[in-house]
């Protein structure tokens, strides 16, 4: 007996993507693979209504999710880079997918009071001097400052406001970001801020991936009241 495994097709993107936009790369594809391997779980256990991709760049990830979930969910994408916002719209359009795009810094203009069911962020994770984060444009797509976590950490601090009671978040990190320390940090932030969510179970899983000599991990953090 064979069980059919759902697939997450990699969407097409424009061949003349602006030089200012992060071209889909190994990390993007590995994130798509990680999401694909979880599709059954996402569909059956999470049944996400509201999806948010932070730092959508070319838009391939959120477009793939939007195509897969179609009218069962609402997909939002944000990026700090205008050209990336435009590219995300364009990728959605080419693939006939519905994605609403907003230019902002992380989740700063969203009042998503625990309404995000599926959150994705492939952040700038390269270890750089802190100043480089402010450079904007393409530099801001990889410059992560000290430990490469300056941008990601700001978002992780808001998880307890963002994620719904039955939700999941996926974050790309590399060895230098100290994935084990991130798990501890998320947990501390959560319990410190999330008093009203005391009954919620919270877990993190780590998916390690290796490509050439870079080690990527996907930290997925599950927030759940059913599992």
């Amino acid at each position: 007996m064979s069980i059919s495994v759902p697939k997450l097709a990699t969407p097409d993107w424009s061949s003349d993507l602006s030089e200012n936009v992060y071209e889909p790369s190994e990390d993007s594809f590995l994130l798509l693979d990680a999401l694909e391997s979880d599709l059954h779980f996402i569909q059956e256990k999470i049944q996400p209504l509201v999806l948010l991709e932070v730092g959508s760049g070319s838009g391939v990830i959120i477009t793939a999710l939007s195509k897969f979930l179609a009218a069962r969910s609402f997909c939002m994408a944000v990026d700090i880079n205008w050209d990336a916002c435009v590219a995300t719209c364009e990728t959605a359009r080419i693939n006939d997918a519905q994605v609403d795009v907003i230019q902002m810094d992380l989740d700063s203009a969203l009042c998503l009071n625990n309404q995000v069911d599926l959150l994705v962020f492939n952040p700038p994770y390269v270890v750089t001097p802190d100043e480089e984060i402010e450079s904007g444009g393409i530099v801001a797509s990889w410059a992560g400052g000290k430990t490469g976590r300056q941008v990601l950490d700001r978002l992780l601090g808001n998880l307890s406001y963002l994620l719904s009671k039955n939700s999941v978040g996926y974050f790309v990190v590399i060895e230098e970001n100290q994935p084990e320390a991130i798990k501890v940090e998320i947990t501390i932030c959560w319990f410190y801020r999330g008093k009203q969510l005391r009954n919620v179970k919270f877990a993190t899983r780590l998916y390690p991936f290796c490509v050439s000599n870079l080690c990527y991990s996907f930290i997925s953090c599950l927030v759940s009241n059913v599992l």
């Binding site: 209504l49 179609a70 069962r72 609402f74 609403d100 700063s108 969203l110 998503l112």
Partner: protein, 124 residues
Amino acid sequence: MKLLTHNMLSSKCLKGVVTGYPLTIIAKDVKVSEVDFNQEFVSRVLPKLDWNVLWKAAERLGHVGELPQTLIENYENDPEFLKKVHHVLLEVEVINGELVCPETGRKFPITSGIPNMLLNDDEV
């Protein structure tokens, strides 16, 4: 920008702003397009939304149609009602215009359907 997104945007990140919600829409260019209707999605997403804010935004854009100002009960079993909600949530889009902070009057431009909510350093 769809009205579902508008329902979730605020200018609270501005220095001195308390709630910054809802943002006033000044629409210069509105597009209506057909989007697949999924009854279960609309009825499950409604409890997450501020109905009053949605209704007023739809009215402002001239698309409120026959939607009642107060949310009806038992809408789960009312596909006709849910279709109208679907229309204002997902089919009406602001392509060009502005979002205005209700407390400071700060304007955020919407260009090519994308609101720009970035702040200058001195506004944070």
